[in-house]
Symmetry: C2
Subunit: 231 residues, 2 copies
């Protein structure tokens, strides 16, 4: 099954996040305001995903966004707010594929499309992947609570689905948690360690086709041997 272009929201975050928390007057945003914020967030994603929160500077972001530093700060008064906007938007989008795993679907089909979507996201949105990886390396100070509540809850739910499939004899018994970790690790590796992957593959195999190859390898790795009948 070939990789397709994934349709995914760009990092925007809920509209709710834009409104001032005080909201003395919930004033509607102009189109230009939204567009400028969009440009800033796009530039910030570039810088934060490469350098991490501390390593990134407002100067770099402003330059990448093509505006002056004070001008940027007019739209986002604090560096941290840009970062938080990116993180929440990213988390939301990043977990969408996992949410879609359907207990009523065919196990192998469900897992196969999960793996495929994850590798597509690494191919199409590597910066979001790196942004998250950077946050993790730092110990996740700004998302730890989300991980322990929302993420854990979501994973637990999907683990139960997978255990149901095992109980029903639909797939071979394995450790669902570590299977999910392994799918995350392998698929995101192609975004986070892209330099290394391309350096090792060289120019003959390091082109765009590497994602196809990876998808094929990973689908086989995780799905082969999962069907009880095969043995």
């Amino acid at each position: 099954m070939p990789l397709i272009k994934v349709k995914m929201l760009e990092a925007e975050g809920g509209q709710g996040a834009v409104k001032p928390t005080g909201r003395k007057r919930a004033r509607a945003q102009t189109r230009i305001q939204r567009e400028k914020q969009e440009v800033i967030l796009e530039a910030a994603l570039d810088v934060f995903s490469r350098e991490g929160f501390r390593g990134a500077t407002i100067d770099q972001i402003a330059e990448a966004a093509g505006m002056s530093k004070p001008n940027l700060l007019y739209y986002f008064p604090r560096k941290e707010e840009i970062y938080k906007r990116l993180m929440t938007a990213m988390l939301d989008v990043w977990l969408a594929p996992l949410r879609e795993i359907d207990s009523d679907g065919d196990p192998v089909t469900e897992l196969r499309s999960y793996i495929r979507r994850k590798i597509e996201m690494s191919r199409d949105y590597p910066r979001q992947s790196r942004l998250f990886a950077n946050e993790m390396l730092q110990g996740g100070p700004r998302v730890l609570d989300v991980l322990e509540t929302d993420l854990k809850g979501l994973v637990d739910e999907k683990v139960q689905i997978m255990e149901g499939w095992m109980d029903a004899g639909k797939i071979v018994r394995t450790d669902p948690y570590h299977m999910i970790f392994s799918i995350w690790a392998t698929t995101q590796h192609y975004a986070d360690f892209d330099v290394q992957v391309r350096a090792v593959l060289g120019k003959d195999r390091g082109g765009e086709g590497r994602f196809e190859d990876a998808a094929r390898y990973l689908e086989n790795l995780f799905l082969h041997g999962l069907l009880p009948k095969e043995r």
Copy 2:
């Protein structure tokens, strides 16, 4: 097969790296000098692995090392030199397990111990793993040449071994490059994304046993289905 305590050099780097490049007089280092440098490198590993090169500050490192900033700079005149020392020492140690894969050994045994050693390193030396991950996320500006020469050469060599095993019918045919990437990704995930792993597993499964569970899962994932006879 249970995990054992791995024996590994601490980040020290070759002795050659210590000598001044000019070496007007190749003066031997005193014991105290080496010990102080050791303390600094240990502290620097802590900070760099969490914050990346740009995000880390000499202040943080000096405080972690329990000395003043000028005192630290007496031993390492530039921030970049501390970082480079850590990187070269890390790379050397980090690739040791891959180097040990032996073409004359039994394929499954060789791969099993490779996986086991890699997960042991994530357990015992998570900071080294994160240091490297941080460098990769930034695009590997300080190691790109090493990746393209030494690392690629090493991987190519081991890929040839694996292809030899496949040609001889000793293991099932698969993509050796992506297999190696997947082993790297999955094992290092337990160091790099440690926060996430522990958050998801919760307190019941997130203890030290998680490395045992991971090792068991990964050995099965990569090795099951590799023997032609099993099918």
